[in-house]
């Protein structure tokens, strides 16, 4: 990468760390460190919530997904606006006014200490691992693209994040998120403009080419539980997922607990409802744009340069032959794409048929190359994640590429910082202060909190270096996390049911997770529905258990 791009990335990282710490006030009290003394404005909290959710995976992987699979991924977010409105009138006032530092602390007031401890423990495990996975994803890509050791890439992301989170607490995290969100949007809009300018065909023709390969199929209205992204899984499953994520996950809850008032907390959530779908559509559309661009400019056969080098070293002649086939197939597909752009009426249908057949031929050749990667390296290629970084580094002008890479750093840092801050809060408030040392002063808790942030940062870095070599681990972590989300949401919903008792919540949570585990491993039902199943099972178990057994389950 050009030194100017590196300069932009370096300057940005230094600015985020220094300014984040500078903006932090009154972090010498626990309330100031964890909740910013409830002083943040709605727009700061809103941008922070959005930045937390927009991880580096979104910046790197989602455009790649747009390029290979089109716009259908947007359906995942269809439930988000509805979830935000529901949270705004239910959980937000409940938690903001309850005088709690963690969402799980509320569960002790409503039920008992073990329900709090179990939910908080599940959060620590799943989020601790996912912080590592979030760090691993950009670390692996940067390592391969820039040819630097993975440990360096992880350290480059992890160390500055731990520093400003540790020193500045939630205020440093929130203010850094604001800058990161602005940078991310600027980078995406600039890339979209560059794509439009550099595209050899006009936007209408580009969209026709994208449509011919199914990449503009946004909505799938079929009701198929085994299909991952449909309109219905997005609206129903997505609503439950977003309710769980924004309503019960400490990394999100802590943001709006820091808002000045309930009204400001509610408004901050609506900001996500406002922008999420348009922003996600922009990210995916950038990916679709890259796909169309690569119809006219030949992309590499393999996007991951490290894997390409490994295959060339081990299977040089076979890979060369494949590349020759690829060059011929690309020329034919390029002609077909131009024909689609130029054709109209009946000729357009025939041109599309030819184009689709030639695109399939390209995919067959790429499939052979990817199989070669798996043979040589012994791991899944994950080539989709490298499409966009390769495009950025080879096609964008100097400076803009630096802004994009800084944007990826920003996205990674904002998500990880929020996780670390929340992990530290839950560790100290729900465990250390609750069970080990309840009567210490603020200075003591602050010291422990900073230590906890450093511990979780180190933990995430270690997980990241291992997760990177075990590609499937990231998927396991994600599936592992989805076991809990719906069930924990069920406990919070149960808390709003009059007469619900602690044993109903505790055993409902365990049975809910068991039910989700059965669905995940024993059926083909897709993961979005698991959130619905987990929440519903907790309610179905918890309500009757509370009514007929009450508080006496253990006694009986």
């Amino acid at each position: 990468m050009h030194w100017i791009n590196w300069l932009i990335v370096g300057a940005y990282v230094v600015w985020v760390v220094v300014d984040g710490i500078r903006k932090s006030k009154d972090t010498d009290t626990v309330s100031g460190y964890f909740l910013a003394n409830k002083s943040l404005s709605w727009w700061v909290v809103g941008l922070s919530v959005m930045a937390t959710q927009l991880s580096a995976v979104t910046m790197i992987g989602t455009p790649g997904q747009g390029a290979t699979d089109g716009m259908r991924f947007i359906q995942l977010y269809l439930g988000l606006p509805l979830a935000m409105v529901i949270l705004g009138v239910t959980i937000v006032p409940l938690l903001h006014g309850a005088g709690v530092y963690t969402a799980y602390e509320y569960l002790e007031r409503r039920f008992d200490s073990r329900t709090r401890s179990l939910t908080s423990f599940l959060f620590l495990i799943s989020r601790g691992l996912s912080a590592g996975a979030i760090m691993a994803a950009p670390g692996v890509v940067f390592s391969a693209v820039f040819g630097i050791p993975l440990v360096w890439a992880v350290a480059l992301i992890g160390i500055p994040t731990v520093i400003y989170t540790m020193i500045g607490g939630v205020q440093a995290v929130a203010w850094a998120d604001v800058k990161q969100m602005v940078l991310i949007v600027i980078a995406l809009v600039a890339i979209m403009i560059v794509l439009i300018v550099k595209m050899p065909v006009n936007p209408d023709e580009a969209l026709r080419i994208a449509g011919a390969t199914g990449r503009l199929e946004v909505f799938d209205f079929s009701f198929d539980l085994s299909e991952r992204y449909t309109f219905w899984s997005g609206v129903i499953g997505g609503t439950f997922l977003m309710l769980s994520y924004f309503g019960t996950d400490q990394s999100q809850v802590q943001r709006y607990l820091a808002a000045k008032s309930v009204g400001q907390a509610k408004s901050s959530l609506l900001m996500s409802a406002y922008w999420k779908i348009p922003l996600q559509a922009l990210v995916l559309m950038v990916g679709v744009g890259v796909f169309v661009y690569y119809q006219f400019v030949r992309p590499p056969l393999l996007y991951n340069p490290a894997q390409e080098a490994a295959v060339m070293a081990e299977r040089g002649p076979a890979y060369d032959a494949l590349q020759n086939d690829y060059a011929e197939a690309f020329t034919l597909r390029q002609e077909a794409a131009q024909a689609v752009a130029d054709a109209s009426g009946d000729a357009a249908t025939a041109a599309m048929d030819v184009f689709v057949a030639r695109e399939a031929n390209i995919q067959t050749i790429r499939g052979e190359a990817l199989a070669m990667v798996e043979d040589v390296t012994g791991e899944a290629s994950g080539d989709t994640n490298y499409i966009f970084p390769r495009f950025v580094l080879s096609e964008l002008p100097i400076g803009l590429a630096g802004i994009f890479i800084a944007g990826v750093f920003a996205a990674a840092m904002s998500s990880i910082a929020a996780e670390l801050n929340a992990l530290s809060t839950a560790s100290v408030i729900d465990f250390y202060r609750r069970w080990m040392k309840p009567d210490a002063d603020d200075a003591h808790y602050l010291a422990v909190s900073k230590g906890a942030t450093a511990f979780w940062g180190l933990f995430a870095c270690v997980v990241a270096t291992y997760a990177a070599t075990l590609g499937s681990l990231i998927e396991v972590v994600n599936r592992f996390g989805s076991f809990f989300y719906g069930s924990i949401l069920g406990v919070f919903l149960l808390a709003m049911v009059p007469g619900a008792k602690a044993p109903g919540a505790f055993y409902g949570l365990i049975i809910g997770m068991g039910a989700v585990g059965f669905v995940a491993f024993g059926t083909s039902i897709e993961y979005l529905w698991q959130n619905v199943i987990g929440a519903v099972v907790v309610l179905l178990v918890g309500v009757p258990l509370s009514r007929f057994v009450g508080d006496d389950l253990e006694g009986s």
């Binding site: 003394n37 409105v85 409940l94 006014g97 007031r109 008992d112 994208a210 408004s267 603020d442 808790y445």
Partner: protein, 70 residues
């Protein structure tokens, strides 16, 4: 499973008050929290905008699909 067993054996105490200085609004229940009219007004205004933006965004995406997806 060890954690689960640990949680099962925890004493089922009731919630205790916070030991350290709590934020100002921690002392009051949700309905008592100072919440001036401008907050509620902003929430309503933003909610209406949310609905409009979502309808426009999803409508545009649907139009895109209908127009370009064979």
């Amino acid at each position: 499973m060890t954690a689960l067993a640990g949680c099962l054996t925890l004493p089922r105490t009731v919630q205790e008050p916070l030991a350290f200085p709590a934020p100002e609004s921690h002392d009051v229940m949700p309905e008592e929290i100072p919440n001036d009219g401008s907050d509620n007004s902003r929430f309503r205004t933003t909610l209406i905008r949310v609905i409009i933006v979502q309808v426009v965004a999803l409508g545009l995406l649907l139009l895109l699909q209908l127009r370009y997806q064979p």
